[in-house]
Amino acid sequence: MSELSVDPAGAAGGQPTAPATVGPVRPPVYAGRQGLGLAAFAVALAVIVVLADSPYSQGLVGQWATLAIAGLGFYLAFGVGGQFSFCQAALVGLGAYSSAWLTQDHGLPFALGLLGAVAITAVVAAGLFALVKRCDAFYFAIATLAFGFLAVVVFREWSSFAGPGGERRSLPGISLGGDELSGRSSAAAVVVVLLLALGLTLLVERSPLNREAAAVRHLPLAASTFGIGVMRIRATMFVAGAAYSGAAGSLLAHRNRVLSPEAFDIELAIDIFLVLLFGGLGSAWGPVLGAAFVVWAPEQLRFIGRDRDLVFGGLLIAIMIFVPDGLVGLAGRVQGLVADRRRGRPAEPAVAGEA
């Protein structure tokens, strides 16, 4: 929610008295023009895919889009659902192995592998949630972290599902109607899935579920006295987030065409966390921007050589200190500043989450 969208009186240039609008008040989450934003984003994506002419840049685009989808999953589970699930990486892995298992071992086409991965991941996540739902915030994180470790062991040991030692090679690539897609088209396919995932997330933001989830996040006890099904909402967001991870995993498997269990350990979990940290929790656009940063920044720091991790770490700390609400928060603050200036009001400090 930007300053612009929350104050119709100010936007109309008048005093902040009774809004001039007659008729029902529309909650601000429904007010923005997200459809327009999404269309602009689609155009930008098309340009990016057209400009990406080398396998290297196509690889980066694919990596970014995949990480953004996983980040959107984490955003649903944590940013919306309010539960810090540390198993998103393992769920990406589950999606990847499920999709590999369905396509390589059972000969299903890529599209069904993708859908199957989403379904399997969602079902497993539902089961996991039933086990850990009573855990409070910190214990929930630990329990899901433990699930993550276990999942990597299972990938390594369960050879009839994940391949010998969890190693799978020469997986089928991303295909459409039987034709395997080339580098650019396959990057485009991943980007289309990202667009879909982002669109669905924006729809969640513009729905009653969004406000009920906010209540569950901030005031779970009070929310239950309002009649909100706290557990139902937590479960919904956790499972939806897992489904996104499953989709990301499937895309990852068929882009890389090789899988090994180490790819889904704590390092990926932290990457997904960084996506949200950089992007911000305020909006679904956060993970999309954050993933771009997480993929792009280390590439730009390549020239530094051995000390790259050190510089990246420093950058991370700087961002946490100076932009605690992420890139989306920064954008919201700038927007709020501009709106206040236009209204001739002194700028107010942005409230975290308001952006």
Binding site: D7, V25, P27, S207, L209, A214, S224, F226
Partner: protein, 253 residues
Amino acid sequence: MLVATDVRVTFGGVVAVDDLSIEVEPGVVLAVVGPNGSGKTTLLNAITGLVPCRGRVTVDGTVLATGRPGRARQAHCLRTFQTPQVIDELSCIDNVLLATEDREATGLLASWVTRRQMLAREHRRWAAAEACLEQFGLREQAVLPASRLTYGQRRWLELARVALARPRYLLTDEPSAGLNEAETVRLAEHIAAFRAAGVGVVLVDHKVDFLRRVADRAVVLALGRKVAEDRIEAIWDLPAVQDAYLGTRRVIR
């Protein structure tokens, strides 16, 4: 009638509410008073299912499952809290909408698949919430984030949310806390309006004048027990009440 019988709440070895019974008829305001730590808030929590308790709660003859806040809500028992439970990042209208009765089409599928029906429902819900905001003088703030409200306005926002839920019983915990004189007068009017609409109100509060203005009866608690119950005018003169607040009278030799 809201009837709580032999309600008992223990925290570890501490008995916070000790076999307490209260009754509230529709359209009656029952004040619950007592010194700090006498179990007033815990009693409200027990009746609305926020803490597990022993005993029996019935609402208009139907037994309410204890320890289940959702059940209390279904029976139209609403409560407000000592600190207004308002979500800063949501707009005022969203805060009110949280307590809507109409929970059709609020899930994930509604937001993705049956969006048209969801929006139709939402429009009706918005209109109802707007009417409640109007009632509490917050119509102009409807789309502002709740973080912009003053403390008093946060109280009204909480009451507007309760109003949307069409309460049969309202359990309200120190609603006058933090309000100035004028706001307290206004609060009394709001409570009276609920009362006039046939809502049974359980009112925990400390302000004597305010209670005298709005309450019909009063129950006095001390250390989790009921020590007195009487008409509000008579309650402060009872020796048991003075003892509860000021300590037992005893001549020191």
